[in-house]
Amino acid sequence: MRRRIGPWLVPAFGGLAFLFLLVPIAYVFAFSFNDAGRTNLSWRGFTLDNWRNPCGAPAVCESLANSLQISSIVTVIATILGTAIAIGLVRLRFKFNATANMLIFLPLATPEVVLGASLLAQFLNIGVDLGVGTIIIAHSMFCISFVVVAVKARVASLDPKLEEAAADLYASPIQAFWRVTFPLLLPGIVAAALLAFAMSFDDFIITNFNSGNVDTFPKFIYVAATRGIPAQANVIGSAMFIIALLIVIGGQILSNRRAKMLAAR
């Protein structure tokens, strides 16, 4: 008997695990079609109205726009600074290299509540008005750490001989960076940027401390949950998920096609 069950065990558990991961998302998706009244917690019938008019509920799209704007700016800042730091940490030999390496992990290891609260205290002490600016500063802070960690792995695997070869072939340090180093780091940088965007877009705790009266999408949902989440929130959640899925699938198809093209030559 064991022989017959054996081969099925792994796929079965794998399937269950995926189910476990995907059911909540399916739930969100399904409820975006709910003909909900004020609260979207029980099924009241199918409708396309929510999808036809995603900005129907007050403040949903406003908070989404805030979030997209903030996450985009944070992604740019964190990716540029984080990449520079990652290259520096791997390539430059300086006295406190090991210490710096550890310190960069600190924002990831510190509980978000602590970070959020202490940032708030700081902003209040130096008298900065809370708003989009403070959210961007707060998000950039922890997103840089994510970028550094992701890009560092890529830099470490980059053969320094390639940059030497570029210099040997008359490339100035700037040309060597843009022609050789950067293109080779690009996959890592893109992955880091996506990660930074997702972390920033998703963040609630730190945002909640430092946003003043600006609503981001997660903050809006949280606040709305107390009086009933509008179905439009599900629409936007589902749309985000589908867009992410399309990006991943598109990337796969593209890299498959490129591999085939190279193999064909």
């Binding site: 001989k161 072939l169 008359y170 490339a171 060597a176 030559r265």
Partner: protein, 390 residues
């Protein structure tokens, strides 16, 4: 300097950029407390094939990197064609390198790799020139591929094309054949030599492989501990080593310690373990006191005691300890009283072979022996040579 016109046409160059002399003056390089290159003076004439030969850690690669500008000397100066280049960066020097593991840009096509240097210097027709260079290394048909899709030998050629397309004053080769298998290596050795003669560039070749250095280079500098032990044509180095290190690192040598007991005018006689061994004065670095006498295993003639000449100098009597027959030749180890084991390399002329335990006599022509300083270690370089061969 000979310039055969198979070279990819060269409108860009001012004449003294072509295969110019390289001069290193009192170059020293320290890494922390480690002295990698020690007060090195070196002159590499234009259009020559120059090899820096030595065991790992002897400073040859550091020297090469300093010439390329990838490393700056701690002190000293260097010039190319009379122009001082000390302190300039790698990208400012008319020097190109073929790196040990090729260092091809993995994200570019083979053609773009080769055109890289031309584009940086904004040379017109870079694509056409790169194509020509690829033709020169017989890889024109693979120009659209990525480096990862090529074999090791092909990558090696791309690296070569990428360097020579720039027509540098100097081409540096850092163990360029180290990653290839033996057969391919022999083939590439011939090809490198052909290309060098064809285009008339100055090649500086770093290697730990003495056979490679000797077959390819016009001049070999044997390096050890950051200094040049001896410099010369391969034949000269091999036939007349001036230090024990060179004698043992470049081929094998029997080195025997003794005392000079007689001056015959043009030669001196060394007494070693009761044997009288003669060496010509012009082939010895010392003419009195303690000395080492060296003789290459293939220069020794081995004969049966019955055929041996009457007593005189350059006669060693011994007993065969060990023999290994390789077909073309037989290598013997002969125990000589008062001296110890002596290696003999005997070509297969169809003669009767000696077996372990046989008594034999060894003789040689005085013109083949060489004399070294008596303070030298008879084993210097032997271990390094063994490590380099593996």
């Amino acid at each position: 300097m000979t310039m055969v016109q198979t070279k990819p046409e060269s409108p860009n160059t001012d004449a003294d950029d072509q295969g110019a002399d390289l001069r290193l003056a009192a170059i020293t390089k320290r890494f922390g407390g480690f002295l990698a290159v020690d007060n090195l003076d070196l002159e590499i004439p234009a259009a020559s094939f120059f090899a820096l030969l030595g065991p790992s850690g002897c400073g040859k690669t550091t020297t090469l990197r300093m010439i390329a500008g990838l490393e700056q000397p701690t002190s000293g100066s260097m010039s190319i064609g009379g122009k001082d280049i000390t302190g300039t960066s790698a990208h400012e020097r008319p020097v190109n390198t073929v790196f040990q593991n090729y260092a091809l840009f993995p994200h570019m096509s083979v053609l773009d790799n080769v055109a890289f240097g031309l584009k940086r210097r904004k040379i017109r027709d870079h694509q056409a020139k790169a194509k020509q260079a690829l033709e020169l290394v017989e890889l024109g048909h693979l120009s659209a591929r990525r480096p990862a899709q090529l074999s090791g030998g092909q990558q090696q050629r791309v690296a070569l094309a990428r360097a020579i397309v720039n027509e540098p004053a100097l081409l540096l080769l850092d163990e360029p054949l180290g990653a290839l298998d033996m057969k391919l290596r022999r083939q590439m050795q011939g090809e490198l030599k052909r290309i060098q003669t064809d285009i008339g560039l100055t090649f500086v070749h770093v290697t730990h492989d003495q056979e490679e250095a000797m077959t390819m280079a016009d001049t070999v500098a044997v390096m050890n501990q950051g200094q040049v032990e001896q410099l010369g044509a391969p034949r000269e180095l091999y036939e007349l080593p001036r230090t024990a290190f060179v004698a043992n690192f470049l081929g094998k040598s029997n080195l025997v310690a003794g005392e000079i007991i007689e001056d015959r005018g043009d030669a001196v006689v060394i007494s070693a373990g009761g044997n009288r061994l003669a060496v010509r004065k012009d082939r010895s670095t010392t003419h009195q006191g303690k000395a080492l006498i060296g003789i290459r295993p293939e220069k020794l003639r081995m004969m049966w005691p019955a055929d041996a000449p009457a007593d005189g100098s350059n006669i060693l009597r011994g007993r065969v300890l060990d023999s290994s027959f390789t077909g073309v030749s037989t290598e013997y180890l002969v125990e000589v009283a008062g001296i110890g084991p002596v290696g003999v390399f005997s070509q297969n002329h169809g003669q009767q072979l000696a077996a372990p335990g046989d008594d034999v006599v060894l003789t040689w022509d005085t013109a083949h022996a060489f004399g070294l300083d008596g303070d030298e270690d008879t084993q210097a370089g032997a271990r390094e040579a063994e490590a380099a061969a593996t």
